[in-house]
Amino acid sequence: MRSGVALLWKEWREVRWFLIAGVVIFIGWPLLEALAIFRFRQSFSSGSPEGLVLLFGGAFAIFVAVGVTCRDLQEQISCFWQSRPVAIWRWVVTKYLVGLAVVLVVLCVPVAIQDWMAKQAAGSEYQVRQLSNILTCHTFTLILIYSLSFVVGCLIRIPVYAVILSAALALLVYFLPMLVPPLESFSVFNIIMQSPVEIVQISKLQQGGPWFAGKLRIVKIPWASDLGLRYNVDLLRYIIVTFILSCAGLIVAWAAVKRNWRLKVGQKLMFWLLGGVGMLLFLTVVFQLGSNLKCVRQILLKPQGEGERGVAQIACDGDKGVLLLRNKKPGDAGDDATYSLMTFDLSAKEPFGKEICLSQDQMPVFSWPGDRGKIVWSAKNPQWAYSIKTSMRKYEPDGHWFTDRAELLTISLAAGSAGPVDKLDLLPHLKGQTAYSDSLYMLDGTIYASLSGILFIFDVGIDGKPVLRKIVKERVGISGQSGGSDASGRLLWASMTLRLVGGEGLSVEERLKLTVELSEYRVMASDGDVVVEVNSDFIRAYRLKEVSGDIATLEMTAYRRPTPLERLAGTNPTHVFVRNGLAYVIDSSWDFGGLTVYDVRQPQIRRVGHYGTPDERFLTGMPLQDGNILLGGNKLHIVKPPRAARTHKNGETVRR
């Protein structure tokens, strides 16, 4: 028997138990699941291979690598092998390749089978794409983890310690690039999420133009250009890096065996190392997502029966104001919520005043998660609040929706009153136009109401009743947006044009503020000549460049994309306000919701503070007179602003 074949035979005899165990776990279990599904639903399928491979694939690679190295590198067996007429490199390479083959067979075959089965089923394009991504990207991660564990096995030679050290390294390989933004493009999870294996035909590329190219971050492959194929540059970079590191690992392993290098480690060191890596990763997560803002005071909302309640909107002036509360009984659907108004005075011993329940025909309509401006209130007329009510109906013959109600309600907040005391019908002024959204804003005692871009301006009399002063039919808000990015998708410049509210006696900043506050379907805010726009993909700051008539042009001055970890946590910004160059963004995500503060004064927007409210939804907020922030969720939180807000005023550093 030739020595190469003999080595292969020996390795196979040693490693086949790993193969059997791997097949039982990674193929046997999905098979069992498929049988159970077939028994109950008459369809033979299993969704577990991808999860099993993603969760336990790395652990299996570690066990195989440590298993193939540590046994033969024990003192006596190692001496025996070195006395044989076989070159050490052949022995090490055979070991490496046989182990790697077992890892790849056990971990790739189940996913490939699942991929094949998904392709047979109709309507599973998304799953097929995801499985292809896992198969393409995660396989290289497994090779890297196997190679690193192989080196560790050769250097340490004690199985339990080698497994622990390899586990620490695997944790770093999987999670460190995801947690540290500069290493973003080396994270396997980021690459899987980018759909890298989407093959793009040249014709499609030409149709899509540069935007398409920028979006997919593609690179031309010389040897495949005739086929018209392009691949994601991040995937290529990842493959090259994992390949180089794996080769380097094999060389180090060979050198370690040849020169008998050994790392003398103890149990304590190994466990502290593993714990240290775990804590490092956890602290990196905490640094990016954790809270650092101090809560000065929390005020529980008055309970209303067994249901849950949250603050839908706050209208305040100083320490006083009105809360629009959303009340839900247990088991109610989202649409079944009822609304009520409650006055508050934070300086008083008993902060909450009377609660006024709104009847079905008085309740505001929230048309999207970031919808705002449903009530306005002013400290000048504290006994009155104003609310807007619109409703739509479907016209059955042609299926079109039309507005059948549009009213400005005046609600008395005085003790003993209940419900609105005055209704101002706006429907005749719409003249058949459909109002898909509505919002209110109050500035210096004047109420501005926007109904799908048509602006109504009201003066408020001494008796608190609003009087319609003017209707502006030209649609106000964003009239254009443009931007340019580089090949990696990084935004280089952006500008925005706004049609401003034309108000007599108003400064440009006030007109800008009104326009921004009344804009629909955008989470925006302004302070002076700065406008901040935020959504789940970015936060941008614009500065007013010029105003020509009613048209204002703004240029982007600062920009930030969420980090990979923030994207993974899920961002759902629903409200923003700006004070002294800091943007206070309220996020209503279920698990990672809260208030996040960004410094928008520098071109690179920095995250300077966060206050997490992980168990609360319907979060909204307003700045208070003393500089603190009032947040309304399931309770009221008064939060201290970050240090950056306390040391800066109007963009200048204040000496303390």
Binding site: F271, G275, V286, P614
Partner: protein, 232 residues
């Protein structure tokens, strides 16, 4: 003599106690302070993950290290009954498993008591964690008491844990939910029942697990003192 045995075990195991306390209490303190996720998620992660980690860490080094280093013969040659040596080892192991989780409970109560969860709501998951940790230690040591190295003891521990998961999953094929059989028969039920406040099978769970634990302890003590070669 028993006191000396306790002292010996304490000297060997104290770094694990420090390790568990620093890691788990640090995790709880940072997690609750940073309000990364809801308090109950942090508490369940600390109680569940901590109990498995501590049981594995302690179980690996309790008997297998003595066999690996060859000191078991000297230990058994002492003028003390072997079951007493085993009992001292298990008592110290249980203490090292339980104390870090109790520490986490104290940190949680100090930092988040009454914030999102009441004190009793915080107490129960940690109680479940302590109980599970001790039960897992007993299972692991009973099955790995004849293993000649830490690596093998660790693998036995992982195997026992995977076996419970497999038993629960297998029972799901035959029993429709709620699958009380799977919860009562394996120690994982302790975590599931205490974390989810399902007390209707608590008596059964306690009775079954106590009975199993006593049997395993007796079996482990018998095998600990048994003479003969250990297979390598």
């Amino acid at each position: 003599m028993i006191k000396s045995l306790f002292w010996k075990e304490w000297c060997e195991q104290r770094w694990k106690l420090a390790y568990g306390c620093i890691l788990l209490m640090g995790f709880v303190a940072i997690g609750l302070r940073s309000r990364l996720v809801q308090d109950d998620i942090i508490i369940i992660m600390a109680a569940g993950g901590g109990s498995v980690l501590m049981a594995l860490l302690v179980g690996m080094g309790l008997v297998a290290t003595e066999r690996g280093e060859g000191s078991i013969e000297m230990l058994l040659a002492l003028p003390v009954r072997s079951w007493k040596i085993f009992a001292v080892k298990m008592a110290m192991g249980a203490l090292v498993c339980a104390l870090p989780i109790v520490g986490c409970m104290v940190v949680s109560l100090a930092m988040a008591g009454g914030r999102e969860m009441s004190a009793s709501r915080i107490f129960v998951p940690y109680l479940g964690g302590v109980a599970f940790s001790i039960v897992m230690l007993v299972w692991m040591v009973a099955f790995s008491v004849r293993q000649p190295s830490e690596a093998r003891a660790g693998l036995v521990g992982i195997g026992v844990f995977m076996g419970w998961i497999f038993a629960i999953l297998l029972s799901m094929l035959f029993f429709k939910p709620p699958n009380w059989f799977g919860l009562v028969i394996t120690p994982l039920g302790i975590l599931v029942i205490t974390f989810n406040w399902m007390y209707n099978v608590l008596e059964w769970l306690v009775a079954v697990q106590l009975a199993l634990m006593v049997c395993l302890l007796l079996w482990g003590a018998y095998r600990f003192g048994k003479e003969g070669m250990v297979k390598v």
